[in-house]
C-alpha cells in the first residue's frame, strides 16, 4: 500500500485527550520533495498532528508511515534519528546555550563522542567537534546568522530565535522537516526572510517540508499542496487554488452564511 513517492503517510489516525477528540480519522500523505501546508482555525488540531508525527503524542487509532515503515510506536528521539526534524510554535530552544551550541547540540545524532572520549577531548572528540562545526557553519552561513553565532539565544530577538530554531532543525540533516508556525508573530520583513529560507531549503536541499501557517497569502504562495483541518477533521486537500475555492474551507474560516 505504501507508494515510493510518499515520504509520510498519515493513515486514519485519531487522537483523544480525555473526552476531547483532537484528531479524528485524519488521512493524508506527504509526497517526496513537496511543501505541504496544513491550515485550519485555532484548535483545529494542527499542532496535535505534528506532535503525533514526531512522536510526542501516540494516536489511539491509525498508523503513521515514514518512508514505507510503520513508526506509530517509535520513540521520538528515534524518529529524529530516522530523519524527522521540527521547529516549535512557541520557540523551544536551549535557552542558555549560544546559537552555535544549539546547532551543535542538534548534530547529536550524527556524532559519536561518549563520556570517555569526550573527557579525553584531545583525540577523536576534538576531530569530531571540528568536522561537525564545519557543517554547522554552513547552516549559519546559509541562514545569515554569523553575527549571532556566539550569542546566548535567550538574549536574541524573537525573529532571530525563530531563525536559530530553523537552523537547529536543519542541523539534524532531516529528510522531512516539520515547521509549526514558522512565521507566527513576525513582521512583514521577517516573514519574507523566513519564506525565502524555506524556499531555499526546499530547492537546494530537496527537503520535504510540512508546515503549519496562518498567513494564507504566504501559504498559497509557497506550498505545493494544502491540507485543511477543522475540529480535528480533514475538511479538504488539494492545490492552493483548489483550497481557495473549497466551500468547506471558506465555511470553516468565515462561518456559515445565515
Amino acid at each position: 500500500m505504501e507508494s515510493d513517492s510518499f515520504k509520510l503517510h498519515v493513515d486514519h489516525i485519531s487522537l483523544s485527550f480525555g473526552g476531547i477528540r483532537a484528531l479524528n480519522d485524519i488521512d493524508f500523505s506527504v509526497r517526496k520533495g513537496e511543501i505541504l501546508a496544513v491550515i485550519g482555525p485555532n484548535g483545529a488540531g494542527k499542532t496535535s498532528l505534528i506532535n503525533s508525527i514526531n512522536g510526542f503524542y501516540t494516536p489511539q487509532q491509525g498508523k503513521i508511515w515514514f518512508e514505507g515503515q510503520d513508526i506509530t510506536r517509535t520513540p521520538p528521539y528515534k524518529r529524529a534519528q530516522r530523519g524527522i526534524s521540527r521547529t516549535f510554535q512557541n520557540i523551544a530552544l536551549y535557552t542558555n546555550m549560544t546559537a552555535l551550541d544549539n546547532l551543535m547540540a542538534a548534530r547529536h545524532i550524527h556524532m559519536k563522542a561518549n563520556m570517555l572520549t569526550g573527557a579525553l577531548f584531545w583525540g577523536s572528540a576534538r576531530r569530531e567537534e571540528i568536522e561537525h562545526r564545519r557543517h554547522v557553519e554552513e547552516i549559519i552561513d546559509f541562514l545569515e546568522m554569523e553575527a549571532i553565532r556566539k550569542t546566548i539565544v535567550g538574549n536574541l530577538s524573537y525573529g532571530l530565535r525563530k531563525r536559530v530554531e530553523l537552523g537547529r532543525a536543519l542541523a539534524l540533516e532531516p529528510t522531512l522537516l516539520l515547521l509549526d508556525e514558522p512565521m507566527a508573530g513576525m513582521n512583514v520583513e521577517e516573514k519574507e526572510d523566513m519564506a525565502r529560507f524555506i524556499l531555499d531549503i526546499h530547492e537546494r536541499k530537496g527537503m520535504t517540508i510540512m508546515l503549519i501557517e496562518h498567513d494564507m497569502g504566504l501559504v498559497m504562495d509557497i506550498s505545493n499542496r494544502v491540507v485543511a483541518l477543522d475540529f480535528g477533521r480533514k475538511i479538504a486537500e488539494g492545490t492552493p487554488d483548489e483550497i481557495k475555492q473549497n466551500e468547506a474551507v471558506i465555511k470553516a474560516y468565515l462561518g456559515q452564511e445565515a
Binding site: 529524529a80 536551549y94 563522542a113
Partner: protein
Amino acid sequence: MSANIRPAGILDTNYAQDIALNRTRTDKLISNGLFALLLLIPLLTTEGPFGLNLIQQSWIGIIIRIAIYVIAVQGLNILVGYTGQISLGHGAFVAVGAYSAAIMARNLGLPFWLIIPLAAIFTGLVGLLFGLPSLRVKGFYLAMATLAAQFIIPWLLRYPLADFTNGSRPLEVPIPTLGPLSFASDAAMYYIIIPLSVFMMLAARNIMRTRVGRAFISVRDNDLAAELLGINVFAYKLQAFFLSAFFAGVAGALIAFETNSLSLDKFTLNLSIEFLAMLVIGGAGFPLGPLFGVAFVNLLTQDIIPARILPAVGPVLPGLLPFIDPVNINAAISPLLFGFILVIFLIASPRGLAYRWEIFKIAWKIRPYSH
C-alpha cells in the same frame, strides 16, 4: 557567555583555535604557571625540604580538602548545574566511594591507583540505580527520591555491611604505597590529590563542551525539545547520575586515603546539603563554579571565621549575645556567622561567584572601552 567577547586583535583563523581552552600563548602560560605554582606550595612550608616558612603547614590540609571537595561538587554540578536534575544524596555517594575504596584496600589489598577508578565506577553504578526515578519524576519529587540514597546507603553501611565497614566504629584505611614510596604525609598525598583534582576538572570541562555535555544541557534547558530532536533524554539523565556519582566516588576514595580513617558520621545529610550550598555559592552550571564555591566556603569556615573574625569579635560576644552560654559561644557563633554570610551572598550574587568571574573577565577584555 565569555566566549562571545574577545580581546581586540586576537582573531581565530580556524575552528581548532576557536575551540581551544587556551587560545593564546598568554592563556597557556597563565594556566600552566598556576598549575606549577600549586605544585610548589608544599616545598615552601616549614616541613618542606628547604625548611622555608613562606606558607603555613596548615594550608596544605586546607588546599587538599578544597581539591577533594571540588571533585565531589563538580560531580554535583554535572547533575544539578548542567543536567538540571537534583540530588540530595551526594554525600552518601561520597561515602560509597570512600568505603568501597577502604574495603578494596583492606580486604583485597589492591594498589591505590587501581582502587580509585574501581571505586569511582562502583559508585557511579550505585548513582545510576538511584537515578532511575528520574525517568518519572522531576524537581521536588526527584529530590525526595534521591534523599532515599542518603538514608539507605548509610544504613546499609552501618548495619548489614558492618562486617566490612566496622559499623559505627571508625574504619582504618591502609596508607597508599607505590613501589618504595609511601604516601603517609599530607605533603605526599598532595601530589596525588592535586593532579587528580586538576585532571577531573579538565575532564568535566571537556565532557561539557562535547556531545555528551551538550546533550546534558539540552535536557536541562528543554527536555521536550531534546527528546524530539534526537536525544534519548532518559539515557542521558542516567549518564548524568552515573557521572555525578563517579566524581563523588573519586572524591570518596581520596578522602579514604587522605584521612586513613573513616567514620560514617562524616557522610550525613548535612554533607549533601553542604555540597549543594557550595555549588550554589560558586555558581551552578559554570565549569569553575565548584572551585569558587568550595574554596570560598572552606576559606570561610576553616580560616576566615575561626582565625580572623572570631579573635576580633570574641571578647565582646558574651555581652552581645547573653542568651548563649559563654562557654559554647565560639562553637555557636561559627555556624551563625556562616549562615549570615551565605544569605548576604545569595542576595547579592544569586547566580554564584563564577558568574561574577565571567562578568569580570568580559570587563577586563574590553577595557578600557566598555561600549
